[in-house]
């Protein structure tokens, strides 16, 4: 999954940021009710959640980046 995320992060550089969070160490996982890893949560520029899914499906990731960037 990491290569896919890295590629999309580079593609959407300046539009969508990426924050890697260790689900075992960070209480943020509880806020988003993370039950499995990997889990992806997209936030808009106001910090509101716009999408959440489990797994590293490249198509879902690309779609999430597109939505987050407003494109």
């Amino acid at each position: 999954m990491a290569p896919v995320v890295d590629g999309l992060e580079a593609e959407y550089s300046g539009k969508v940021g990426v924050r890697d969070i260790n689900a075992n160490l960070d209480e943020t996982a509880a806020k988003f009710d993370v039950q499995a890893v990997p889990t992806c949560v997209f936030l808009d520029s106001s910090g509101r959640q716009i999408e959440q899914f489990e797994g590293g499906d490249p198509e879902k990731l690309r779609d999430g980046f597109r939505k987050a960037s407003g494109g």
Binding site: K15, V16, G17, A23, V37, T39, V41, F42, D44, G70
Partner: protein
Amino acid sequence: MICPHCKAETSDMMNVCELCGEPLNNGVSQPYVEAAPGDATAQVNGPPGGAAPSEWPPPDTGLSTSGTARPAGKARRGSGAGRPWYMSPWPYLVGITIVAAVAASLFLLRPKVKAYPDLLVNNQPTLLNFYTDT
């Protein structure tokens, strides 16, 4: 046709007198005979070329022939007490109040979306990538 009650001329097509409302005999002309002064033998004749005098007047049709036969309507009420509901502002005020209350409750009970601006990277849309190192 001549009304037997008020002697007014009225249309032959009418069932009641146009002037006094008295029922007419359903298209059968009512004869109007002016008795000559002192003529005690003046009598009612049947319609010209119609039934014999013995058949006249026609059988009782059940219609009243005395007085006016207007249906008795509801007695008029005093002003105010009998006004229909839609003339009062209260039903509308109650309705508006209910609608406003429902709208306000929907607004207050709408699902609140949490925001996590502290998790953003450079205040731009952000992917939170939860992973584990085990």
